[in-house]
Symmetry: C2
Subunit: 113 residues, 2 copies
DNA sequence: TTGACATGAAACCGATAGGTGTCCTATACT
DNA sequence: AGTATAGGACACCTATCGGTTTCATGTCAA
C-alpha cells in the first residue's frame, strides 16, 4: 500500500539489475534523453529503452517529451520503500556494527558500480 | 570490493524476490531449519531450499548443521552494501521529503510483506 | 538394523529477462 | 518537399528463474 507503481515491476526488481543501477546513477544530476543515456552503455539503444521502461514502471524515473526526444529524470521517492524495508533490519546490526561499519562506509566513497 | 559473497548472486538480486524477502523476515528473530521455513510457504521444500542457497550466496544467511537438520540464520551485514547504495541517493530527497516522508514511515509500521 | 525423517542434488519445464535487429512514426533541418 | 534523427513497437533468441518431481545420503529412533 505504500507505493503505487502502476506496472508489474517493483523497486526491488528494478534495482536488481546492474545496468539499471548505472542508469539511475547517470540520471542523478541531470535529466537525459534516451540517446545520451544509451551512449554510456555497450548495449543497444533498444535494450536501454527497455530498462528505462522497467525503471519507469517502478516509479524510479519519469519521462517528458521535448521535441523529438524523450528526457528521463530520476525520481527518488520510490526508494523510500527500500529505505523502510532496510530500516526494519537496521536495529539488527546497530549493536554489532561499529569498527566494521566505518570501514564499509569509507569504502563506499570510492565505490563506482 | 566491499563484499565478498562467494557466488554469483549479489544482495540486490537476492532481495528482488518477494519469497526471499519473506524468508529473511522469518529469520529475523530465530534460526530455523529448512522444514520449518518451508512450512511457511505454499511452495515445495526444494524450492525454498534453492531460495536459501541464493540468500546464502549473497551472504544474507548462514547455515549450520545440527544433527540431521540444517539451521539457517540471518546475516545482516551484506545489507550494508544496500544501505550505502541508498545513502548515495538520500541527499536527493532530504529537501523535498517532509510531510510525505512521515506518511510513508508511519505506513511502514503496518507493512507486512 | 531397519525404517522414518531432514535435506541436498539432479533432471526437467514453462515463463520471464536481457539482449538483438527491423520497422514505423513524429519531429527537426535545409 | 525531402531527408535525417529520436525513440517507441514488435518479433525473435538464449539463458536464467522459480518451480516441480525423483533420487541419494546422512541421521535419529525402535
Amino acid at each position: 500500500m505504500s507505493a503505487l507503481p502502476s506496472g508489474k515491476h517493483d523497486v526491488f526488481q528494478a534495482i536488481a539489475d546492474p545496468t539499471r543501477r548505472e542508469v539511475l546513477k547517470l540520471l542523478v544530476d541531470q535529466e537525459m534523453p534516451v540517446n545520451v543515456i544509451s551512449g554510456h552503455f555497450p548495449i543497444s539503444r533498444t535494450a536501454v529503452s527497455k530498462h528505462l521502461r522497467i525503471l519507469s514502471e517502478a516509479g524510479l524515473v519519469t519521462e517528458r517529451k521535448v521535441g523529438r526526444e524523450t528526457r528521463y529524470k530520476l525520481e527518488t521517492q520510490p526508494l523510500q520503500e527500500l529505505r523502510n524495508w532496510l530500516h526494519y533490519y537496521e536495529r539488527y546490526w546497530e549493536n554489532k556494527m561499529s569498527a566494521l561499519q566505518r570501514l564499509v562506509e569509507s569504502d563506499s566513497k570510492k565505490e563506482d558500480e
